[in-house]
């Protein structure tokens, strides 16, 4: 069971805007899902290691080198950016 206050807190952590109606809706739905998943508390996990990678791969690395990208590709990527200025990504003032 979670409360509407919890929903507000989680939404803020998730950077997700919610209106009153959505807060109430998610309070109900998340409570019922959390209630369902609480059955995991019944499992004895005292001697179990958690899964880190399912087929056992470990620390796959590549040389730490920058890769060249063609100017055309950069242009294509920038075309997808909502707001740009002189080839830079624009954000609202941070300070």
């Amino acid at each position: 069971m979670i409360f509407q206050e919890d929903v507000k807190h989680i939404a803020k952590l998730a950077r997700l805007g919610l209106n009153e109606r959505e807060e109430r809706k998610f309070q109900k739905e998340l409570s019922s899902i959390l209630d369902y998943v609480s059955q995991l508390q019944k499992v004895d996990i005292s001697k179990v290691e958690p899964v880190s990678h399912i087929t056992g791969s470990k620390n796959v690395t590549r040389p730490d080198q920058s890769r060249k990208i063609e100017v055309e590709k950069v242009k294509k990527i920038l075309k997808e950016v909502p707001e740009t200025k002189e080839g830079h990504i624009k954000v609202k003032a941070v300070l």
């Binding site: 979670i2 919890d6 929903v7 989680i10 939404a11 952590l13 998730a14 950077r15 997700l16 805007g17 919610l18 209106n19 959505e22 998610f26 739905e29 998340l30 019922s32 899902i33 959390l34 369902y36 998943v37 609480s38 059955q39 995991l40 508390q41 499992v43 996990i45 179990v48 290691e49 958690p50 899964v51 880190s52 990678h53 399912i54 087929t55 791969s57 796959v60 590549r62 590709k73 294509k76 990527i77 075309k79 997808e80 950016v81 909502p82 707001e83 990504i89 624009k90 954000v91 609202k92 003032a93 941070v94």
Partner: protein, 488 residues
């Protein structure tokens, strides 16, 4: 000849013998989609230009007598969460409604190299979250067998398109059953490879430790053909692997390969008792039990097995999946790409985040982002996420123990046939539970195929064939024999 009904193999033969051209074939499909897809809603976007150009190029190759890849000149469709350079890629979400892919996914690059004719991008549940296709941010897809029913999801458009003969085959993605469940509901073949067998580079991420790309086809042979083209190590996906995939020509043959078609010997099949419990539709159960009897008649040794942690799979899955979703979907921030509230109603940076995500995401992604954020938040991480990853170990161990004694596992793909549009959309938990037989396979990282094994109440029923890690060839060998027997 009805060109749209041919399999990959038949199309390949036809092209090689010049019974028809790739251009002719491609036009047949594009026209059919144009005419009939309004009522099914299987496609979000068509790419006639790429399709027709590729078809012409392949026809020239055929004219010149050049060697053909088994997929050359054959029309196919791509789920709309897999990038095709220069084409729109929405993942079924309004937040990516106007996003154009800037590169090809690894699988798309491999298919293009093989000469595949990409007809377009198929509809899906938003960000692959859903089991009915109804969570698409645009419009729901309908089941070609009965339009009042859902096609399953999240690869709803891919499965419906193959079943409706809008394409020879399609790509889907499977995080908790999203290839196998719609394949089951639509009466086609849907294959999810071992985790790591196929590169995820260029697949819009949902839950990265569970996601895999795989084919949806008309026959088992076709699924094998597509898998062989798309599989293998890719530099851009560090979880992809090559080495462990069995070489079909390896000196130690598989249990089935030894005996050729028609009869099975020494194949041990496990049937888990936990998959035949309350909740399963009795008509579906009957059809699947008859299918298992067929496997016995073919010569397989059938044993009852136990996968004791099955009952915890859905709960475990929803914690792990939603946690990964909350991290993966953080990138949709209204700043780098996709929908943005920047120039609309946002006053400061936080506003851009809050409003872009509020207006761009549909209900299901929001729900899962919220659940995942909660499970990973301070004070809850150990109780939820860490515990779920430990339960996941137990689920995997169940399968490891079983595969010491048996070669394959048979189960129903889904507890029911295709349900009605609107039937489960208001109750998220009941929708989640329809994945009860497919989710454990993703948690364990195993390969599995769903093949049609009959009908119940006029709707297709899927049989799920699960194999050990990287034993995809064994799954294909058995499923093919089974398919042949069913067609006799």
């Amino acid at each position: 000849m009805e060109l749209h009904k041919l399999t990959i193999k038949e199309t390949y033969e036809g092209l090689k013998k010049k019974k028809f051209s790739s251009l002719e074939l491609t036009r047949v499909f594009l026209e059919k989609i144009e005419k009939e897809d309004k009522k099914l809603g299987a496609f979000i976007n068509l790419s006639p230009e790429i399709a027709l150009n590729t078809a012409k190029r392949i026809d020239e190759k055929i004219e010149n007598g050049e060697d053909l890849s088994p997929l050359a000149g054959i029309p196919m469709a791509v789920k709309d969460n897999i990038l095709v350079e220069g084409e729109r890629c929405t993942a079924g979400s309004k937040i990516l409604e106007n996003y154009t892919a800037v590169y090809d996914a690894c699988v798309v690059e491999r298919l293009k190299k093989a000469g595949a004719v990409i007809l377009g991008k198929t509809n899906m549940d938003e960000f692959a979250m859903g089991s009915s296709g109804e969570n698409s941010g645009f419009f729901p897809t309908k089941n070609p067998h009965n339009e009042s029913r859902v096609p399953g999801g999240s690869s709803s458009g891919s499965a419906a398109a193959v079943a409706a003969s809008f394409t020879v085959y399609a790509l889907g993605s499977d995080t908790g059953g999203s290839i196998r469940q719609p394949a089951s509901f639509c009466g086609v073949v849907g294959f999810k490879p071992t985790y790591g067998a196929v590169s995820r580079f260029g697949l819009i991420a949902m839950a990265s430790s569970l996601d895999q790309i795989g084919p949806i086809t008309k026959t088992v042979d076709d699924a094998r053909t597509v898998f062989n083209v798309i599989k293998g190590k890719d530099q851009m996906d560090s979880t992809s692997v090559e080495s462990k995939i069995q070489n079909p020509k390896s000196p130690a043959p598989e249990p089935l390969a030894r005996y050729g078609a028609g009869k099975i010997q020494n194949l041990r099949i496990g049937v888990p008792r936990e998959y035949f419990v309350k909740g399963i539709d009795s008509k579906v159960e009957n059809v699947v039990k008859k299918a298992i009897d067929k496997a016995r008649e073919l010569g397989a040794k059938i044993e009852e097995i136990s996968l004791p942690h099955t009952e915890y799979a859905i709960a475990c899955y929803y914690i792990i999946m939603s946690s990964e979703v909350s991290a993966n979907l953080a990138r949709y921030d209204g700043i780098k790409f996709g929908y943005s509230a920047f120039s609309k109603n946002a006053h400061n940076l936080l506003d851009v985040y809050l409003k872009s995500r509020q207006e761009g995401f549909g209900d299901e992604p929001k729900r899962r982002i919220m659940l995942g954020t909660y499970a990973l938040s301070a004070g809850y991480y150990e109780a939820y996420y860490l515990r779920a990853q430990k339960v996941r170990s137990l689920i995997k161990k169940d399968f490891e123990e079983s595969f010491k004694k048996i070669d394959l596992i048979l189960t129903p793909t889904c507890p029911t046939t295709a349900f009605r549009l609107g039937e489960k959309i208001k109750d998220p938990l009941s929708m989640y539970l329809s994945d009860v037989f497919t989710v454990p396979i993703n948690l364990a990282g195993l390969p599995a195929v769903s093949v049609s094994c009959g009908k119940a109440g006029g709707l297709p029923v899927g049989l799920q064939v699960i194999g050990p890690w990287f034993k995809e060839e064994r799954i294909f060998d058995f499923a093919k024999l089974f398919e042949q027997t069913l067609n006799l």
